[in-house]
């Protein structure tokens, strides 16, 4: 492509790729972070229920 405006075309595609990449990254990284948080919260709940009941002899 020997178009005089090739720089504008490359810049447009680069920005679109970067923005789409950012959207995909946001969703995927958020999912991983939330899964880790859910595991931690579930462990905290289990220890609050089971651990406490075990200590109190309620099992």
């Amino acid at each position: 492509m020997g178009d005089p405006h090739i720089g504008f075309i490359i810049a447009a595609y680069a920005i679109a790729v970067a923005t789409i990449g950012a959207m995909i990254g946001w969703v995927v990284l958020d999912f991983r972070r939330l899964n880790t948080q859910l595991d931690q919260a579930t462990r905290a709940l289990d220890s609050a229920r089971g651990g406490a009941k075990g200590k109190l002899g309620l099992d």
Binding site: H5, I9, A52
Partner: protein, 251 residues
């Protein structure tokens, strides 16, 4: 019929559907980009027309996503669907992303074609207003701690902002503008040559599939966020409930 109002059912459905949607999105992008770069140059725009294969689908997605959010806002306020506000909240950053692509690629096309990156004409200004609406809605959700109140406030703002959609669509007809009028969705059929229309439609399908994939994933993330809040609250309540027994037994 699958009960999509049930978050657990929705998460399971997402787990099964997303890989297929992601694969379809990748295939459509490969096809769309191949068609875009194989398409002949436009007789007036030259190769710069290739920017249109990003700009036009992004513009369609920008308004389509806001229409989806408007439907979700009605779902929140009128039908009180349990996933409507999650769908609305999940769509806003994606809408902002596509609107950003639309604005930037339009600007990069405008400089060589119009001689300027920006003009304050009706179409460009109304799309900029849409971008600000997306950012405003994202800020609103962050600003209100109570998720129920945040969802209602965001739904009302979304419905008020929906007035921008017909303004965007008909701005090129209602006012004198530098932006060209509709050339694809017209009563008399598209005015674009088929060689240029095909890559445009392929890229539009790719953008639509990308949105569907990311939207489903983002709604699933919202469901997870609520689950975390609920489990954390239960853990705190259990801790408080058992604390007096601990103290009484000296545990």
């Amino acid at each position: 019929m699958v009960n999509l109002a049930n978050p657990t059912t929705f998460v399971e459905l997402t787990r099964r559907v997303v890989p297929w949607l992601a694969a379809a999105t990748a295939a459509l992008f490969v096809a769309g980009l191949w068609l875009s770069f194989a398409a002949p140059p436009d007789y007036q725009q030259g190769e710069t027309v290739k920017i249109m294969y990003l700009h036009v689908p992004a513009a369609w997605m920008a308004t389509f996503i806001y229409a989806v959010m408007t439907a979700a806002a009605l779902g929140t306020l009128v039908w009180r669907h349990p996933l409507a506000d999650a769908a609305q909240k999940a769509a806003a950053p994606l809408g902002a992303g596509f609107t950003f692509i639309c604005l930037v690629t339009g600007s990069l096309w405008g400089k060589p074609m119009w001689g300027t990156y920006w003009v304050w004409d009706a179409r460009l200004t109304s799309v900029l207003v849409l971008f600000i609406l997306y950012l405003g809605l994202m800020a609103l959700w962050r600003a209100i701690d109570d998720s129920g109140r945040a969802a209602k406030a965001a739904a009302i703002l979304t419905l008020v902002g929906a007035v921008d959609l017909p303004i965007i669509k008909f701005s090129v007809d209602w006012w004198n503008t530098l932006h060209q009028p509709a050339s694809v969705f017209r009563l008399n059929g598209p005015t674009i040559a088929p060689e240029l229309l095909m890559p445009l439609l392929a890229m539009s399908l790719a953008f639509t599939c990308l949105f569907l994939t990311l939207h489903l994933m983002a709604i699933r993330n919202e469901i997870l966020r609520r689950r975390i809040a609920r489990v954390t609250m239960f853990a705190a309540v259990e801790g408080d409930r058992l604390a007096p027994e601990f103290a009484a037994r000296g545990a």
